[in-house]
Amino acid sequence: MNRRKFIERTTLASITGLVGTEIVYGLKIPRGYVPLALQDPDPFKLFNKDKDMVVLNDKPWNMEAQAHLLNDKVTPSSKMFLRNNGLIPEEIDLYSWTLTINGESVQKEKTFTLKELKSKFNTHTYQLTLECGGNGRSEFNPPAKGNQWTIGAVSCAEWTGVRLRDVLEDAGIKDDAVYIGYHAADIHLSRNPEKEPISRGVPMAKALQDETLIAFKMNGEDIPLAHGYPLRLVAGGWPASVSGKWLTEISIRNKVHDGPKMGGTSYRVPCETVAPGEKVADEDMCIIESMPVKSLITSPKTGAILKKGQKLQINGHAWAGELEVEKMEYSIDFGSTWQSCTLEKPVNRLAWQHFNAEVSFPKKGYYEIWARATDSRGKSQPMLLPGWNPKGYLNNACHRIAVKVA
């Protein structure tokens, strides 16, 4: 009897024996599913991620980059954060995959195969910044519930696909349309097929923008499975949860979309600012739309030791949701004085912008280089944490790195 055969004949009783505790709802474990306690996958191999990526959660899979990993102008898949609300779909059949446009405000429900989508509509390519609404959550005080993202839940990849607008217009949009909501093939953590892990959306104005894509390629290749293969909605500049992966359906709604993670504290913040830790009533919470202005120093990696007199080249990226970054500065004296950085224009709207500067230090000692971006409406990143909110969204406080001159 070989090992595999033995394993196949293992019964629930013996798994329970191995795990050492009772498996609650064990009988509901589907065939072929490996209980987490017995799983030991290597996520870096599984998702082809850089070894310096940080795993925050393995069920569902959530991983973030570190600042120095994000130095590329266009983020490669290996350094792109991974955020899942549910389980990654297990079977994807390209030939039977379809996208249905439906909802109260569609003129005529329509279903497209992948082939039809690609041949019927013009293809467009944009670099689009996707940042998790909860990026920076780990710094909030009192702490906010959820994955404790630090700074690495942001990316700017090159996405290729058809415009959502073209596809919606092909099906026909009724005059009373206010919102679109996506539906996807991911699996709820409870494995209840009736439940969707997440189904979010955007108002019509965002849905109809040139840069809002139904994408089938990322960085010139098929979208990696963990990032939404074969189809992903991509709406740059907004919380990345709006960019639904494994897309199967888009509903044109005559009201604000009400799928899971559209209500309560999910991706919503107090409409008016509140004191840290304050309770906020449901009706006083507003859906996050554009992400705020933010920047990252991606080179050098924090912890650099320089010789006295040695100059330091710094570079990084800045982004501002729907807006453009107009000014980029750095400080080596904790914000007492600010020097300007060279800032590039974005490749296209909603792409992050690159900055660089040459930094000199007056004398030996410990320094922090703080980076501060200002958007086209004059709003800058705060040095302290911005307004507290129950789920710890929208932390756009200045990024900083430590440097020693020895």
Partner: protein
């Protein structure tokens, strides 16, 4: 002498065969007897697909119990009263990592459990609820962070010119 030894050898061979045959017959009769009592012995899986699970084993089972420096190695949980109940009830749907990275007060752990029951199909925890909440708030309480913390865990390195 030579002939006598050959005869002895022949006799031994026959004797051994008889013994082996007797053992085989005995084993088969026992098996047959068991099959009469439990006819589903060989098609256990087919008869009860519900309680049979196909799994691929990647860890050795005994590793699962391992505690190192007060930490349960397989889950990363602090080894303290209530850990077993927490593993049993909390890691079926999500990773222990999601629990460990969070810090909450008693009230907020309770609210989180309630939220999971309302929206995420978490079952009624019964008497385990208090055990689990006590474990969480004892081992994963909030930590005062202020409005911005010092940079920590810096790995210093010499930057090349």
């Amino acid at each position: 002498m030579k002939n006598g030894s050959k005869l002895n050898n022949e006799f031994e061979k026959v004797f051994r065969m008889v013994v082996v045959t007797a053992i085989i017959v005995a084993v088969f009769s026992l098996l047959l007897g068991y099959l009469i009592i439990n006819p589903n012995f060989f098609d256990n899986e087919m008869a009860n697909p519900e309680d049979s699970v196909e799994i691929i084993l990647q860890n050795d089972g005994e590793d699962y119990e391992k505690i190192e420096n007060g930490i349960h190695v397989a889950t990363g949980f602090v080894d303290a009263p209530g850990m077993k109940e927490t593993i049993q009830n909390c890691t079926n749907c999500h990773s222990s990592k999601l629990v460990i990275q969070n810090r909450m007060t008693k009230e907020r752990w309770k609210t989180t459990i309630k939220w999971m029951q309302e929206t995420q199909n978490l079952w009624d925890l019964g008497k385990n609820e208090d055990i689990i909440i006590d474990y969480l708030v004892t081992n994963y309480p909030p930590r005062e962070k202020g409005r911005r913390e010092n940079l920590t865990n810096i790995e210093w390195y010499q930057l090349k010119e």
